[in-house]
Symmetry: C2
Subunit: 126 residues, 2 copies
């Protein structure tokens, strides 16, 4: 969903309780299992608190790719806001704002709203 010309909204529903989904997003050991989509992921830094930094290196078949950012809001288990930057386009920063909603039936809805500085950056990321 593209609610404005600088945003992307992604909604995902997980068959897991909210606390577990929250941990999958914030515990480095769990993040390392899925974030690289099958590629090995080195978590160089992950300080899950307001103002903390994160930096991951994904080992893709094309070589290592670095990603980094900073946590802006950490409100367990409901909301996680962080900046996101790929080394390939340094200084192009998106804000990823993730909300975790308990659906009451053991499932969790995660809505991530990404805000870019420009439409071009948004379209490039899509």
């Amino acid at each position: 969903m593209v609610p404005s010309d600088r945003e992307v909204h992604i909604e995902r529903i997980f068959n897991a309780p909210r606390e577990r989904v929250w941990r999958a997003f914030t515990d480095p050991k769990l993040v390392a299992q899925w974030w690289g989509r099958g590629n090995k992921l080195d978590i160089e830094r992950m300080e899950v608190q307001r103002g903390g930094h994160w930096r991951f290196v994904e080992h893709t078949p094309q070589g290592p790719q670095g990603f980094e950012g900073r946590f802006r809001e950490v409100t367990p288990p409901r909301r996680l806001v962080q900046t996101f930057e790929w080394d390939g386009m340094p200084g192009h920063v998106a804000i990823n704002d993730a909300s975790f909603e308990d659906l009451g039936d053991g499932r969790t809805r995660v809505v991530t709203k990404s805000l870019f500085h420009t439409t071009e950056e948004r379209d490039g990321a899509i």
Copy 2:
């Protein structure tokens, strides 16, 4: 000047040749002399190249204040683009795009265009 609802443009003219003004913005020893506006400035990191990071701590009368970001474009002596983030509002990132124009009479015009993610962030910075 506020050319859009997310930008601020600042124009300054310096009585110095462009090469000297460029050095004043990119040589840590020179930056330390003016950036803190009279306050002591610790330059913890300043890698003036595309993708390089910078981090300054300004020792204000109210205590230390951290600032950091990343260089997005470094084109001596004409253009310097970097992100800017204050520790007090982590994850709120502005893009500072500075152009250095040789006025031909020993003076240099520096135009800095700052782009924020939101109007509220822009107004807060002003």
